[in-house]
Symmetry: C2
Subunit: 403 residues, 2 copies
C-alpha cells in the first residue's frame, strides 16, 4: 500500500479546498491508499518535509463541508517553480521517504509546470511507481484545453453579484457619474468578462468591458464614455487590471511614477485609479474607481454551486486516474454539446497545458473592443449557477484550520 500526497499552489480561490475535499474523499475511500498526507505551502513543504497526516485533521463527514467552504488554500500555498534537476531528485527522494505513490498537485500554470517536470523526470529515470497528477484551479480561467477552471465560477459569481450591487448603489443619486471597477486578470480577460452576467431583468450590467486581449486606447475610452453619457447619466465600466496600450505597456504603469507628497513616498495605483484621474481631467464628471482586490479570489461566502461540485469531482477523478496508473496528466472539464449544461471529465497530457495561457478569443469581443459577445455570456452563465447550503459557527461561516 502506498501513500497519497496532496498540495496546493498559486493564488488561492474559493474552490481550491473543494478540490482538496474531492481528492481526500476518494483517497479515503480507496483500499489501495494508506495514508493521506498534505504538504504545507505547496512544493516548498515537500522540500522542508513540512508534511501532515490529513486523516488526523479532517473528521468524516463533519469536516468535509466545512473544508469545502473555507476560503483560500487550507494547506497554504507557494509561488515556486522548480528550476534544477537536483531539486527534482530531492523531491522524489522525499516521496520515497514518505512512501508516496500518488502526488496530486492543485494549481494553475506554474503548478502544472511542476507536474510536467516531475513526471518527465520519473519517466526518464524509469520511476513507474509514483504517479504525478495535476488538478486545475485558477480564478483567471487561463488554463488550456479544459473548458474552464475550478475557482473561476465562484469568482465570476462574485463579480456578477458585486457589479449588480454597485450598479444599484451608483444609481441612487440623480447625478451624472462614472464608476470604474477593476477586476483581476493580467493577461486574460475571462474574469472581467464575467461582469456581463450582472445584466439581468432588474439591472443593466456594465456599459463597457475592456480586456487585456485588445489594445487599450485612452482616447477611444474617453470617446466611448462621452458618447454614452449623452444617453445615460450613470455609467459602470469593467476593466481588467492588465489592460495595455498598443505599445504593450500596462495602463497601470502610467501611474507608477507617481511619487511624491511632501515626504517623497511612492504610490502605486492601478489602471482604474489612473483612468479615474484621466476622466476627472477630460470629462470632469463624478468618477470613482473601485479595485476589488483580494475579495474576488477569497469570497467563499458566495461560492457557485456548479463550481464547487466540479472542483470536488475533478479532485476525485484525479485519484481514479492515479489508481488506474496514469501520470503526467491534468484532469480537465469538457463541455458537452446540447441545450443543457453538462460536462465530461477527461485526462489531458500535461505538456498540452503547462506554461500555456488561454486568452479570450477575439471573436468573443466586439469590433470596438469595448464589450463581449453573446457567446461569452452563454459560455459563462452556467458556471455561476447554484448556491451552497453553508455551515455556520454562530454568526459566521465555520472554517477549518489544517496547520
Amino acid at each position: 500500500m502506498r501513500n497519497l500526497l496532496i498540495a496546493q499552489s498559486g493564488g488561492p480561490t474559493s474552490a481550491i479546498n473543494a478540490t482538496l475535499v474531492g481528492i481526500f474523499t476518494a483517497g479515503y475511500l480507496s483500499n489501495k491508499i494508506e495514508k493521506i498526507y498534505g504538504s504545507i505551502n505547496g512544493i516548498e513543504g515537500v522540500f522542508k518535509k513540512n508534511i501532515i497526516d490529513l486523516r488526523e485533521k479532517i473528521k468524516i463527514p463533519t469536516d468535509l463541508d466545512i473544508l469545502s467552504q473555507t476560503p483560500a488554500a487550507a494547506l497554504g500555498s507557494c509561488r515556486y517553480k522548480i528550476q534544477k534537476a537536483e531539486e527534482l531528485k530531492k523531491v522524489i527522494n522525499i516521496f520515497r521517504e514518505y512512501n508516496i505513490g500518488y502526488f496530486l498537485y492543485i494549481g494553475g500554470n506554474d503548478s502544472m509546470d511542476t507536474v510536467e517536470k516531475l513526471s518527465k523526470y520519473c519517466k526518464n529515470k524509469k520511476i513507474e511507481d509514483i504517479k504525478i497528477i495535476g488538478i486545475p484551479k485558477t480564478i483567471d480561467n487561463d488554463l488550456e484545453v479544459t473548458d474552464h477552471c475550478p475557482g473561476f465560477g465562484s469568482a465570476a459569481k462574485y463579480i456578477a453579484t458585486i457589479f449588480r450591487e454597485i450598479e444599484r448603489d451608483s444609481k441612487v443619486y440623480s447625478k451624472t457619474g462614472v464608476t470604474i471597477i477593476e477586476v483581476m486578470g493580467r493577461n486574460a480577460g475571462w474574469l472581467t468578462s464575467a461582469s456581463i452576467l450582472a445584466n439581468s431583468e432588474e439591472t443593466e450590467g456594465p456599459d463597457f468591458i475592456y480586456l487585456p486581449e485588445v489594445d487599450f486606447s485612452v482616447e477611444n475610452f474617453i470617446e466611448d464614455l462621452k458618447n454614452k453619457l449623452k444617453e445615460k447619466k450613470c455609467l459602470i465600466v469593467a476593466i481588467s487590471e492588465g489592460i495595455k496600450d498598443k505599445s504593450g505597456k500596462y495602463i497601470s504603469e502610467y501611474s507608477r511614477i507617481c511619487k511624491q507628497d511632501e515626504f517623497g513616498h511612492k504610490y502605486i495605483a492601478g489602471a482604474g485609479k489612473y483612468l479615474e484621474a484621466v476622466i476627472g481631467e477630460k470629462i470632469g464628471c463624478r468618477v470613482r474607481a473601485i479595485e476589488i482586490n483580494l475579495l474576488q479570489r477569497c469570497s467563499a461566502h458566495l461560492q457557485s454551486g456548479t463550481d464547487i461540485k466540479e472542483a470536488k469531482l475533478l479532485g476525485m477523478k484525479g485519484i481514479f486516474g492515479a489508481l488506474e496508473g496514469k501520470t503526467g496528466i491534468m484532469v480537465a472539464l469538457k463541455r458537452k454539446e446540447g441545450k443543457y449544461y453538462d460536462i465530461d471529465i477527461e485526462y489531458i497530457d500535461i505538456s498540452q497545458i503547462a506554461n500555456k495561457e488561454k486568452k479570450v478569443p477575439l471573436s468573443w469581443i466586439n469590433k470596438q473592443g469595448n464589450f463581449v459577445t453573446n457567446e461569452m455570456e452563454e459560455y459563462l452563465r452556467p458556471l455561476i449557477s447554484g448556491e451552497i447550503k453553508n455551515v455556520y459557527d454562530g454568526e459566521l461561516l465555520k472554517y477549518i484550520t489544517l496547520y
Copy 2:
C-alpha cells in the same frame, strides 16, 4: 382618509429597503391610510413632484422579500439639507396637493435634520394634520440615542466576513506581510470596530484597529507593527478612512498632494494607500492596502437577519406612531438588560438626534488606542446574527425596480 409618503435619503445601506417594506406593509394594513406614495430621490423628489404610487409597483406578498433583499435605496436617494423657510412652505404645499397626512423619512443625520425642520415648521404654523416621522438608517451607526442603526448590522456582518476571508487569503504564503483594510467612517469608528468580529475559533481577527476617535500617530503605528512582526509574520490591520493626527488633519490628506506622472494627473489616495507607502519605506516588508469602498454599504447578498428584522419593525413602528398622532420624532432601538439580546422600540424627540453624531466611547478603545475592548465586541456580536433565505432569479438574487 389621508395618504402616506415615504422617502429615502443619504448613503444607501443593505437594510434601507427592509425599512421601506416595514413602512409599506403597515401602511397597507391600516384602514386609515389610502394611497402609499414614494418620493424619488428623497426630499428632492418632493420638490420636483417626482412621486410614485407604490401600491402599483409592489405586489403583495411576492415583492416584499424581493424589495427587502434589493441593495441600495430602491426609491433613490439625495444629499440635500433644507436651508430656507420657503422650501419648508413649498414642501407642505406639495404635501397638501397630494393629501399627505404622514411623511416617513428614512435616513441618517441630514435626513433627521429635515424631519426636525419640517415638524418645527408645522408646529409653528399650527399644522396638526401632517405627521413627520424619521426612521434611522446608516452603516456608520452614528445616530444618537438609538442603541444602533438599521443598516449597520449588515455592514458589520460584511466587514466581519471579508476580514476573515482576507485573513485566510493573506496567510497562505510563508512570507512576512502586512494587510491594511480601510473601512468607511469619517468621524465614527463603529464599522471599523466590527472587524473585531472576525476573531473566531478558526481565525485570529485583526491585529490592530485604529479609529477616528483617537489621534493617530504614524510613528506609533510603525512601532506597533514592528513589535508585532517580532511575534508573527502576517498582520491584518483595520483602519477607519477618517483617522486623523493630533493636529486634526486626516491621514488621507497627506497623500492628496500626490500629483503627477508624466501627464500631470492628480491622484487621490486614501489613508490605507498612504500608510502602505509609509510601511514600504519604514519597514520594507510586503504590504497591501485594501479599500473596500462601496461594497461595504451595498452588499445585500450578506444581510444580517437581525438587522433586516429590526429595519422592518422600525418602519412599521413609524406608521403606528404616525397613526397615534406622533410627529417630530424618530423611532429608536433600546437594548434591554439581560443575558440574551432583546430590544424595545421607542419614540425619541427628533431634537435629541438631528445634527448630532454618536462616536465610539473612549472607554471602549484600549489605552494604546490601537484596539477595541470586550465591551465593544459584546455590543456588536448580536447585531450580525442570523441569515436571510434569499429569493433567486436564475443564478443571482432577484431585485425590484420601483422607478
